[in-house]
Subunit: 194 residues, 2 copies
Amino acid sequence: MAAVAGHEDTRTRLLATALRLFTEHGVEGTSLQMIADALGVTKAAVYYHFKAKDEITEAVVEPALRELESIVGEAARERRPGARIDHLLDGFVDIVVRHRALVALFSSDPGVSRALEKHFFGKESAMVGMMSILTGPDPDPARDVAAHAALAGIALAGGSPELAHYGDDTLREALLDVGRKLLGRPRPRRTPER
Amino acid sequence: MAAVAGHEDTRTRLLATALRLFTEHGVEGTSLQMIADALGVTKAAVYYHFKAKDEITEAVVEPALRELESIVGEAARERRPGARIDHLLDGFVDIVVRHRALVALFSSDPGVSRALEKHFFGKESAMVGMMSILTGPDPDPARDVAAHAALAGIALAGGSPELAHYGDDTLREALLDVGRKLLGRPRPRRTPER
DNA sequence: GTCTATACATGGATAGAC
DNA sequence: GTCTATCCATGTATAGAC
């Protein structure tokens, strides 16, 4: 539409195409050749925009990851420990539900988890930030295991193809319930209008 | 020891070596070349014993999978629905704890899940067997989501490297607790001597 | 029956021409 | 900014030695 279209939209088109192919064939099932063909360019052209396939994967997942980091930051700033947990739980579930397709990719598919490892584990990652909020300074085994199970359970159940037929609100409520049960949080007295 | 040693132990050594390399570098990170080198043979020799890399992966995981199918069968034969769930939960947690390294591989690593898909999903798979026991004939969304989250949470938490330092008994109890909370099962009145 | 040698297709990746 | 040409590793496959 705009007169400027054509400049650097190749990168944008590339990411959109990659996301589509990734969700169709999985990350590992999508070769650079397929991406290049879909764009009408060559493999090497793709390499101009991204130095490696992993960079494409990262770029595709980045928005959701940014949201997550933002939520972790917000949650950490809450005063009461319970409020920190509730804030994190609400935000996490919301992200999982809204990015379902991506989460399914992330949980079930090959390459994604590897590409995300550096962002997800290791110091100052979203993962450790979440765990520190959920477990607190207390290394109680039961709490530790429950926190891990909660995050993993919510993410995998949220991305599961078998649960894909549920609507966003239904899924969100069910996942929140899972988190509350495992983290020992009460159900809110009234529904927040968010 | 025995005079017969040397015959077909290549296949056995191959599987043991593959398991070790898999847990060290992941399935995708382990090439047939690495396996062959570790055994002192060529790639083609490996190929003689297994027609494809996936077959190796399958063979490595098979014992644990057999156990799981056996547990599902046992659980399904219980009369009371609650007993079915309890039996499945106990057995599942036990398998996860005892095969922790494998479960970590299965959950975090690329190739394993793909190699297991045919055994794990699709009709008459262990997965559907477990879900049918856990959810019953009632397609209640909350229960459905909780069951998925329970299985995923137990498996991933059980295989998580960050929880690897816990002893078997500690981990088992914590995972059982996760399952009971999500599936609405009471804690047993006395510890069974199993 | 077990292995070696060898070949092939494909994938990711790089260098350099245009 | 895109392409050609090329490289190397990998999974897969076959032919043939022992």
